[in-house]
């Protein structure tokens, strides 16, 4: 493949400024939400002593997981040496950094004491996976930053595979760390499972690629550049594998739990009697997030349609958020089992399913995280050369025959 010219975008159109304005507004709303929550205290949110992590964490964990997966496209080029993916790599690295920044912003701003971030970065308890995650996340910024430099600077290109491999391994560690946040919790019936870590890794592949595809299609559509079917089809095929993989992990997790009598109660809750959580699981995670996108991406009538592929990606994102909701909030809503087999009640909601409803400031903060990520990408593509001049079939398809 002949060397591809990488460009900035013009970024002068009304649409561009409109986008900046929209993201800016969403971020302002998020900051206002944060001020409201911090000033009054968390009692104004839907979170409580029963459900301690709420909608902000749903968005934050989703963004962090997606960030790690968004680097996949670059890894395929640098680590697995596929030439088609090389011009796609810089955008992939940018998206990874932006999504992580958005996710971490939401996580930090929801802390009870966000003013103590310096404390969090200077006091470490290394038995805590959270402490390791702080290093993994900040290290990710540094390593992918260097990786991006190697990708954008021509004379550093030959070395990009080494740093790309390092980045690939680092993000596997990072996503393992994120999944282990839940996997290491022995107390809760819905967590405490080794499968959490590899499941989060496959989820990251799926969410990250879906978001990458959406950003790519939007970028090329709105700047009038050529994005050919060859590239789209390759990424489509990859996304199918990742969605199926994530679904497989979820199936294994639930089947294993269903085998153990100890976990029957929590499985009954998630799969059958959990109300909103059951709906979010079957309709959100399985139907909308996995089966319907798989159909769209595989059925011959839709698999070549840009609209259908774009819709499938959006559905994967929606399903991902639903999966996070079921995992994080559903997992907390199911009561802690202090006395197995007994009926329990107290003034502290023992034995009861925790009630939770997302509150406006929480949702505002969560959406602000997405806005931060997309704003960073929008600004990035204007000032640096992230966009290949053309991704048309003539340039990308090695077997291209002109008609």
């Amino acid at each position: 493949m002949k060397p591809m010219r990488m460009l900035e975008i013009d970024g002068k159109s009304n649409g561009y400024w409109g986008l900046i304005g929209l993201f800016g507004l969403l971020i302002l709303i998020a900051l206002g939400s944060v001020y409201y929550m911090e000033h009054n205290g968390h009692w104004v949110t839907g979170m409580s002593n029963q459900i301690v992590w709420g909608t902000p964490h749903v968005f934050a964990v989703f963004l962090i997981v997606a960030a790690s997966g968004a680097l996949n496209v670059a890894s395929i080029a640098s680590v697995f040496g596929k030439p088609m993916y090389k011009p796609l790599s810089p955008l992939s690295a940018l998206l990874a950094l932006a999504l992580l920044a958005g996710g971490l912003a939401v996580l930090v701003l929801d802390l009870g004491r966000p003013d103590r971030l310096i404390v969090a970065m200077t006091h470490y308890n290394f038995k805590s996976i959270f402490a390791w995650n702080i290093y993994l996340y900040t290290g990710f910024f540094a390593i992918v930053g260097v990786y991006l430099w190697f990708l954008l600077e021509k004379k550093m290109n030959p070395h990009s595979s080494k740093i790309g491999t390092f980045a690939f391994l680092w993000r596997l560690a990072l996503t393992t760390g994120t999944g282990s946040i839940f996997g290491f919790l022995v107390a809760r019936q819905a967590y405490d499972a080794a499968i959490m870590a590899p499941m989060f890794i496959i989820m990251s592949f799926s969410y990250g690629l879906a978001i990458y595809l959406l950003v790519l299609m939007a970028l090329y559509n709105w700047t009038g550049r050529d994005l050919g079917d060859f590239v789209i089809d390759k990424l489509r095929g990859l996304l199918v594998v990742f969605i199926a993989g994530a679904l497989y992990m979820a199936v294994v997790q639930h089947l294993t739990n269903l085998y153990a009598t100890e976990h029957h109660a929590v499985e009954r809750f998630i799969l059958l009697e959990g109300g909103i959580y059951t709906t979010a699981f079957w309709v959100g995670q399985v139907l909308i997030g996995s089966l319907f996108p798989l159909f769209l991406l595989l059925y011959p009538g839709t698999r070549n349609s840009r609209q259908a592929i774009g819709l499938a990606c959006l559905l994967v994102v929606a399903g991902g958020l639903a999966q996070m909701y079921v995992t994080i909030i559903g997992g907390q809503a199911f009561p802690l089992i202090l006395f197995p087999g007994m009926e329990v009640s107290s003034s502290f909601f023992d034995g009861q399913v925790g009630s939770y409803a997302p509150s406006a400031p929480e949702v505002g903060l969560g959406i602000g995280g997405i806005a931060i990520a997309l704003l960073l990408v929008t600004i990035g593509v204007k000032f640096l050369k992230f966009t290949p001049e053309t991704l048309g079939d003539a340039a990308m398809d090695p077997h291209f025959k002109a008609e």
Binding site: G41, H123, F130, L338, F339
Partner: protein, 240 residues
């Protein structure tokens, strides 16, 4: 500098060193008579509590009230977010209908999962076994609340005013039963133990085989909630 001066300064140094050494030799002996307070918590002691559920009346919640009064916990009529360090739990066997009531608070585990997961080390176990939150470095991430099997911890959801001087607490940090550490360090009993009028709550040193609590456990046995988790809680129950 002349030879004489050098010799003098060498002598001076020797005398100083001798004086310093003798002071240091004497000093430890002097500190032996210092009050025990200055020494701090020691791992020779392991504080624990024994709760006799048979003596616990289901309609009584004096321990809960005493804890709230002692520690300045105020209710805002928002039960979902109001702090609750100790609560009465009603446990009913659905098959036999047998019902018991018992107080549950932070179990002060020897292997506390809350301390394991705290990113800054704010959740920690003191040398004498009391599990505390160092609110100076707590960032309010609530991971310890996710990790606790006993739902012992509360998050402070609003501004706090009128704190007791021996129990500082503020918005945005996590808190739980401290086993009334300020009372224990003063040689007194936790507020809940002192208030209980049926003698259901017994407090003492688990490392001392002659203490009341150790003898009671040795004679009548005791169980721990979720003993299967291997956390070795310092709070034990008889009659469940």
């Amino acid at each position: 500098m002349s030879d004489e001066n050098l010799q003098d300064s060498a002598r001076r140094k020797f005398l100083t060193g001798l004086a310093a050494m003798s002071t240091l030799a004497v000093a430890p002996g002097v500190t032996l008579i210092a009050p025990a307070q200055a020494a701090g918590a020691s791992s020779d002691v392991r504080w624990g509590m024994l709760i006799d559920v048979n003596k616990c009346k289901s309609e009584c919640d004096k321990c809960v009230g005493a804890c709230a009064t002692e520690n300045g916990l105020k209710s805002h009529d928002r039960p979902a977010t109001d702090p609750q360090w100790i609560r009465k739990v009603t446990v009913k066997d659905p098959k036999s209908g047998n019902e018991k009531s018992l107080p549950v608070m932070c179990q002060h585990c020897a292997n506390p999962p809350c301390a394991d997961v705290c990113p800054t080390g704010a959740s920690f176990k003191r040398a004498d076994g009391i599990v505390l939150v160092d609110r100076h470095i707590c960032i309010g991430c609530r991971y310890c609340m996710m990790a606790c099997p006993y739902k012992a911890r509360s998050f402070v959801h609003e501004d706090v005013k009128g704190q007791k001087p021996y129990m500082p607490r503020g918005k945005g940090t996590v808190e739980a039963c401290t086993l009334c550490v300020h009372r224990i360090d003063d040689g007194r009993l936790p507020a809940c133990v002192e208030t209980c009028d049926t003698g259901a709550l017994v407090f003492g040193d688990l490392n001392d085989p002659n203490s009341g609590i150790s003898k009671a456990v040795a004679e009548f046995g005791a169980t721990r909630i979720r003993a299967d988790l291997g956390l070795d809680p310092g709070v034990m129950y008889q009659g469940i």
